[in-house]
């Protein structure tokens, strides 16, 4: 029996077991059982991914399942890459869940959400494994439904959950519908719905069909991926879901939107004209910038992480766009590098975002708040969590020593490459893309310095933070696993080079893009190299050396109160908050962010010149949502209210409808 088949089958069976366990196991053992099974599902999925990226293909058709269509599974290296990614995330999150769901109140460990968790993972594994349009759509919708139920886990505790879930439900369904239309159109145009048939027939498609399909599907996939302006569900759902679910959604599910674009654009349609990719690039650029700006000014830790997901997806889309453009321009080697950058960034983001969301969950569990302004002082109360979170921050801020840096470096390399025959559009687009990546990276650093510095360091600014205690071992173990993976990806990304080569060559997008010895990463078609291992050794070695020398030669440090300008002891209220930290940035970008501010000055009763109180309120609404979605919702609601006039209750009116219909039918017979 094939390795992919065996492990994937095991994953699905385990998910079933987990679902039953979630329903049947008593509350006391439930989270442990479900967490363990979920982790096992993840491991099985990851194993199948490893088998697939190492070249073992697998295909099967099960006509008896899914009425009217049948299920077709087909696993190739591309699918394997995403199986590996999802499986890895699930394994980590499973371990984390044992402690998290078990100790953080009723919601995440309730019967229903416990049962759905492993099923969600299985549904996500099914998406890349799908080998036909119907199977893909089934998996897609199963995944959406399972995640929707999981987002609802804590609906009893917070009213915001319902609104978040509604946004998510409506937008994910809208995305599903456009993907459905696109893929069904594609299947109808080539006359077959298996991916193999589409691949074979794609060359004969008219540009209208392939372009239309691409637009429809990219809209749906990008919405799932959280790309701006199709993102409003994401900060809500990620923020309101239990943290282990946020981690799964942000790190794994969102990537399946990316998978969809890769599968469709590079595999099924086999590439396309330049305007596709420029459009995708524009989408990516907007997502990256808008996402990171919103993240930078967010004071809610989970909202910050969620918007950062939009940002990272934007970067991935930029990579895909670059790959498409270069492939179209006849530069397959660079295209391969760009594609590898996008895929590697997907994996890196999965790594650090799992870690960060789990970290946020630990903080939420310990302090009871997601508000950065009410945290602080956690580095001494939760040292292990802080250390692990720092690893994630290094990755997310794309700093050297972090894993995000490697993929952004790759992305930049593919963008910096210049095609002598590229034409004016590329001459403009490439530097703009570089600038976007750079600004994104820069603001990303601000964002994560804020998250770590304001959230974890200095003194506690809230009662919850003051009373925080370290997380249980299983949560730390889950986060530790994720941190280890992040560190590995940061230091020796070379180990993934063969897998990425196989994925890229499997997509016919270019020759194997990556190479190099154990330490140095070399690229096909580009002369630059990097050796993350030596950089890490250098920085860590020098820093440790420096610190050790200082300790050996100098005197020990003495703790003293910080300088208070002679104005009495410092209090936590004097610390810089997240809002204050990001304020200059908000000023710089106030044309984009459009903050709403209101200052209320209450005068004293005695005199208008004496001020009794000043109240300052500031809100940073999501502008895209306010400009794009609110009017739509308002309009639809208005239609709904107006439509009530259709059903006034008058039987005469109802009869008149019928008479009108009858007359119309009779007239249709007469006029003809």
């Amino acid at each position: 029996m094939n390795g992919v088949a065996a492990s994937l089958g095991a994953a699905f069976v385990l998910a079933g077991v987990g679902g039953v366990a979630g329903l049947a196991v008593p509350a006391r053992w439930r989270s442990a059982a479900v967490g363990a099974v979920t982790a096992a599902v993840g491991v099985a999925g990851a194993v199948s991914g490893v088998a697939a990226v190492s070249g073992t293909g697998w295909q099967v058709r099960l006509p008896g399942l899914l009425p009217l269509a049948g299920v077709t599974l087909a696993v190739d290296p591309l699918a394997g890459w995403f199986l590996l990614l999802i499986g890895g995330v699930a394994a980590v999150v499973g371990v984390y869940t044992i402690g998290y769901a078990g100790t953080s109140g009723l919601g995440p460990a309730a019967r229903g959400s416990s049962a759905v968790l492993p099923v969600f993972v299985a549904a996500m594994l099914l998406v890349p494994a799908a080998g036909s349009v119907s199977t893909f759509l089934l998996a897609w919708e199963l995944m959406a439904m399972a995640s929707l139920l999981l987002v609802l886990s804590e609906h009893r505790h917070s009213r915001a959950v319902r609104s978040a879930a509604l946004w998510y439900a409506a937008m994910t369904q809208a995305g599903f519908v456009v993907v459905l239309l696109g893929l069904a159109w594609l299947a109808a145009a080539v006359g077959g719905e298996s991916f193999a048939a589409i691949r074979a027939g794609a060359a004969g498609l008219s540009p209208v069909v392939s372009g239309g399909v691409f637009l429809l599907c990219v809209a749906g996939f990008a919405s799932k991926a959280g790309a701006v302006p199709l993102h409003p569900w994401l900060p809500r759902a990620h923020a309101e879901a239990p943290s282990h679910v946020s981690a799964l959604m942000s790190a794994a599910m969102v990537k399946l939107g990316v998978y969809g674009i890769v599968r469709l654009g590079f595999d099924l349609l086999g590439g396309g004209p330049r305007w596709w990719w420029l459009l995708l690039g524009a989408l990516g650029a907007v997502s990256a910038l808008y996402g990171i700006l919103q993240a930078a000014v967010a004071a809610d830790l989970k909202r910050l992480l969620a918007f950062s997901t939009s940002e990272n997806v934007g970067l991935i889309l930029l990579g895909l766009a670059a790959a498409g453009v270069w492939a179209e321009a006849g530069q397959p080697a660079v295209a391969g590098v760009a594609l590898a950058a996008a895929l590697l960034h997907a994996a890196n983001h999965a790594g650090f975002k799992t870690l960060l969301f789990c970290g946020a969950g630990s903080v939420l569990r310990a302090t009871g708040t997601r508000d950065l302004d009410r945290m602080g002082g956690l580095s001494r109360r939760m040292p292990a969590t802080t250390a692990l979170f720092t690893v994630g921050v290094l990755g997310a801020a794309a700093l050297p020593l972090g894993n995000g840096f490697i993929s952004e470096w790759l992305l930049l390399q593919s963008l910096l490459h210049r095609d002598p025959a590229g034409g004016t559009v590329l001459t403009i687009a490439a530097p703009v893309a570089v600038a976007v990546v750079a600004l994104t990276a820069g603001v990303g650093v601000v964002t994560y310095v804020k998250a770590l510095g304001v959230g974890f360091l200095a003194r506690p600014r809230g009662e919850g933070a003051a009373a925080a205690v370290e997380s249980p071992p299983s949560m730390l173990a889950g986060m530790g696993l994720a941190a280890a993976v992040c560190a590995g990806l940061a230091v020796v990304p070379v180990v993934l080079a063969p897998a990425l080569d196989r994925v890229v060559t499997g997509l016919r997008a270019g020759p194997g893009p990556l190479g190099g010895s154990s330490a140095t990463l070399r690229l096909a078609g580009i002369a630059s190299t990097i050796s993350p291992l030596w950089i890490a050794v250098g920085v860590v070695g020098l820093a440790v050396g420096c610190a050790a020398a200082g300790r050996a030669l100098g005197r020990a440090r003495r703790r003293v109160p910080a300088w208070d300008c002679g104005d009495g002891p410092l209090t936590a209220r004097m610390e810089y908050t997240a809002t204050a930290f990001a304020e200059p940035l908000q000023r710089v970008f106030d044309d984009v962010l459009a903050p709403e501010q209101a200052v209320d000055v209450t005068q004293s009763a005695e005199s208008a010149y004496l001020v009794r109180a000043v109240e300052y309120r500031r809100r940073l609404p999501d502008r895209v949502e306010a400009r794009l979605y609110r009017p739509l919702i308002t309009a639809v609601d208005a239609i709904g209210r107006a439509a009530r006039a259709l059903a006034t209750g008058s039987v005469h009116r109802y009869l008149a409808y019928m008479l009108a219909a009858l007359v119309a039918v009779l007239l249709a017979g007469v006029v003809r």
Binding site: L646, T648, G649, S650, V651, M658, L659, V663, L667, V670
Partner: protein, 215 residues
């Protein structure tokens, strides 16, 4: 001779329908409906005689009993229980109603063309009358406020269709006609009960009062 009688019956049939639109006294509506029943039964009998067809005669008998005796009786009983004499304020006034009836009759003639073209008997030429009566009945039901008026409208529709069936094909099969008649009878019985309940619940049978269920 038969043809002339048939035309006469058809004329009467249409005329009564227009009369129903015209009159406002509910008792008069019932009388007109009875007359229309007579006309319909007449059509059936004439056709049965013309075709010398026993089954059609049986159908004519059943229809006659139902439309001339049973249904008017039921309607009068409703009227007795729900003492409302007049259709005071129809949603569309009488003059407009009559114009609409004219338009509907024209439409009926245009729409019934395939029936006339195809029917085996020359009597089919009168089939549009049935469709016209049906449309008038529809119009009546849609514009009259009293419960009884609406029932009369439903019965007009049924009469119209029955006339079409007779004129175009010499009547649907006996078994089907029996079923249809039974359904009609039961429907009117149901409506009778409901009218009583309406009267009890709403204190009247003005159907415009039925506005509690709406969106």
């Amino acid at each position: 001779m038969t043809d002339q009688l048939l035309n006469l019956a058809c004329g009467l049939f249409l005329l009564t329908a227009v009369g129903v639109l015209w009159r406002r006294e509910l008792a008069a509506l019932i009388t007109l409906l009875t007359v229309q029943g007579v006309a319909l039964a007449g059509i059936a009998v004439l056709l049965a005689v013309d075709q010398r067809h026993a089954e059609t005669a049986g159908v004519a008998l059943a229809v006659g009993i139902l439309k001339i005796a049973v249904l008017p009786y039921l309607l009068r009983r409703i009227l007795a229980r729900v003492p409302e004499a007049r259709e005071t304020a129809p949603l569309v006034n009488v003059a407009t109603s009559l114009l609409a009836a004219a338009a509907l009759t024209l439409l009926a003639y245009a729409a019934a063309r395939p029936l006339i073209d195809l029917a085996p008997s020359p009597t089919a030429g009168a089939a549009p009358v049935g469709i016209a009566v049906m449309l008038i009945g529809f119009f009546l039901a849609a514009t009259r406020r009293r419960a009884i008026s609406q029932i009369v409208g439903v019965l007009l529709i049924d009469n119209g269709i029955a006339a079409v069936a007779f004129l175009a094909t010499g009547g649907v099969p006996l078994l089907v006609e029996l079923g249809v008649s039974a359904d009609l009878l039961l429907a009117v019985l149901v409506l009778q009960v409901l009218t009583t309940r309406l009267h009890a619940a709403f204190g009247g049978t003005d159907l415009d009062d039925l506005r509690e269920l709406h969106d």
